[in-house]
């Protein structure tokens, strides 16, 4: 703490607070110079984040997808499930989640090392960390839900088709029986 000048006969709270806050700034700025640890050196010279970004495969546009679906309509829903590039979306999502996970691990590691180095942890940093994890978890859960929804839709379509087929069969059999 730097010496804080106080006029005791005429106390000016705003002025004292300014000095305290200035001390704060000095403290924050002085931290890296105080004890440059090997980790710190690594942090300052490192080529930032060296995590390879996921490769994004070209997606089938929704228009093309619609045309494909139209063309495939007469065929069985099973073929549809096999041909449709659902796995591609899934693969891409997994890639992107993996990338996010690695980024998160990297950020957490840096944050932890900073905490160890400075011996103190501002509560806001804790909050940022928690919020980061929270956002990540939300993204993961939403993605899972989206994939599940897509799967359910496809299953529903298959069941519908099966149902139609069975109804047609039922009608045909009824006709045969009553004849």
């Amino acid at each position: 703490m730097n010496d804080i000048k106080i006029d005791y006969d005429n106390i000016n709270v705003a002025d004292i607070m300014k000095q305290i806050q200035a001390d704060d700034v000095v403290f924050e700025n002085s931290i890296p110079e105080e004890s440059p640890s090997p980790e710190d050196n690594q942090a300052s010279s490192e080529p930032s984040l060296q995590i390879p970004e996921p490769e994004y495969l070209p997606m089938v546009s929704s228009k093309k997808k619609r045309i494909l679906l139209k063309l495939m309509k007469p065929f069985s829903p099973l073929i549809k499930l096999l041909i449709l590039p659902v796995h591609q979306e899934l693969r891409q999502t997994v890639h992107s989640l993996d990338y996010t996970n690695r980024r998160l691990d990297y950020t957490n590691k840096r944050l932890d090392s900073a905490v160890i180095r400075y011996g103190c942890l501002d509560i806001t940093m804790e909050y940022v960390k928690l919020l980061h994890s929270l956002c990540h978890n939300i993204v993961v859960e939403l993605t899972k839900l989206k994939i599940e929804e897509e799967g359910m839709r496809i299953k529903l379509r298959i069941i519908e088709k099966d149902f139609e087929l069975l109804s047609r069969k039922e009608k045909a059999l009824e006709k045969k029986v009553f004849k």
Binding site: I4, I11, V13, Q21, D24, C120, D122
Partner: protein, 390 residues
């Protein structure tokens, strides 16, 4: 002059908040006016269940008319409506519904005001945010004076209150910050207003030595007095204090006084004394090195005034504009908005008895100039005189 004080709850059992503020003002203004209190039969501020049986009683020689609460608050329903109103786009009707759910829902009280307008010269409403003030002021705007006791929380931004703040004949604010906030929200600068606050009565003699002996406390402590609650910033205070103890070799202790709704951390230097009598509270405060006031929301902190009355400096939360403003105006307290500032300010206080005594002296002067009952009474009288002239 006959004046009715209208408040959500009234009784000797109710300590702290706008209710105690109202009781003190009523008891002090009794010598100038013919005063009466109009209130509900509720004691519990969460449910507003009817508790008091008598509907027309004397409390410290003041006539109190109590009206039934027609429907107690359903906390679950209220919570849902509150979440909807605070987090979504909504209509004025939604806000009116929120107000009704918040309570204390006492249409009898409002009917009484409507039916007895001519019996009173003025109605002084305490706490803008409750049912009684909103509908009471609508019933008698030309005779109403509002003591908003507003804090910087989301309620103040509701549309219905924007209109409400423009309706009364006069407004009595607790602090300059509260006045500024309400003026900004509603643009009601033209309404006659006075920044008054509330006085404090400090016992002439305090028995701090006996107090320390009784509770086995060393005389090297800082104190927090009030409800121990998350909204009062107590969790942050515990966190900061424990970190301060870890980082410094200070032997300072933290004494907590008041009822708690939180689990207090187990720490050898955090001493919880629970709810104390007024006499013991002042004894505890008198022996403390300083008062800690970590609250985020205050329209006026009575305990801060009491600390200043005893010549004790204050370390307050800077995120509460009112506390920050009061510290600056009084030159009797410092403030913090993060741990670093808390640590520096506390170190400064603990390391300099001269600073503590100079700030204590300033606090005592600030209290004498602004918060003695004589000053408070004069301000109420002058506002009513102004209204009479108009």
């Amino acid at each position: 002059m006959k004046v009715a004080f209208v408040v959500q709850r009234y009784g000797l059992e109710i300590s702290g908040g706008a209710e105690l503020h109202c009781r003190w003002v009523t008891e002090h203004m009794k010598k100038y006016w013919d005063v009466e209190v109009l209130t509900t039969r509720a004691l519990d501020y969460i449910s507003w269940e009817n508790h008091y049986s008598g509907s027309d009683v004397l409390v410290n020689d003041i006539r109190v008319r109590r009206f039934s609460v027609a429907k107690p608050r359903d906390p679950e329903r209220f919570g849902k409506i509150q979440n909807f109103v605070f987090e979504n786009e909504h209509s004025e009707e939604d806000e009116i519904m929120w107000l009704k759910e918040e309570g204390p829902f006492s249409p009898d009280l409002i009917d009484y005001i409507k039916g007895h307008v001519d019996d009173y010269n003025y109605f002084i409403f305490f706490s803008y945010r409750y049912y009684h003030s909103y509908w009471g002021i609508q019933a008698v705007p030309h005779k109403s004076i509002l003591v908003p006791t507003a804090e910087h929380d989301p309620v103040v931004n509701l549309k219905i209150f924007k209109e409400l703040f423009r309706k009364p004949r006069g407004i009595v604010f607790n602090s300059l910050e509260e006045k500024k906030m309400i003026n900004t929200v509603s643009g009601n600068e033209n309404i006659p207003a006075e920044v008054v606050g509330v006085g404090a009565e400090v016992p002439e003699e305090v028995f701090s030595k006996q107090f320390c002996q009784k509770y086995g406390i060393k005389d090297n402590y800082v104190i927090y007095i009030g409800r121990i609650d998350i909204n009062k910033g107590c969790i942050e205070l515990f966190d900061f204090f424990i970190r301060y103890k870890k980082e410094t070799s200070s032997n300072i202790q933290l004494v907590l006084v008041g009822s708690t709704v939180l689990k207090i951390p187990i720490h050898p230097d955090i001493i919880y004394l629970g709810f104390l009598s007024e006499e013991e509270k002042f004894s505890a405060l008198d022996k403390a090195l300083l008062l800690l006031m970590p609250s985020f929301y205050e329209s006026l902190s009575m305990v801060t005034n009491e600390a200043w009355a005893l010549g004790k400096p204050v370390l307050a939360n800077a995120r509460c504009e009112v506390l920050k403003g009061q510290c600056e105006r009084s030159s009797a307290g410092l403030y913090y908005k993060n741990y670093r500032e808390f640590k520096e300010a506390l170190m400064l206080f603990l390391g300099s008895s001269r600073l503590r005594s100079s700030m204590g002296k300033n606090g005592r002067k600030y209290f004498q100039d602004n918060y003695t009952w004589g000053t408070i009474e004069k301000k109420y009288l002058s506002l009513l005189k102004r209204l009479e002239k108009e």
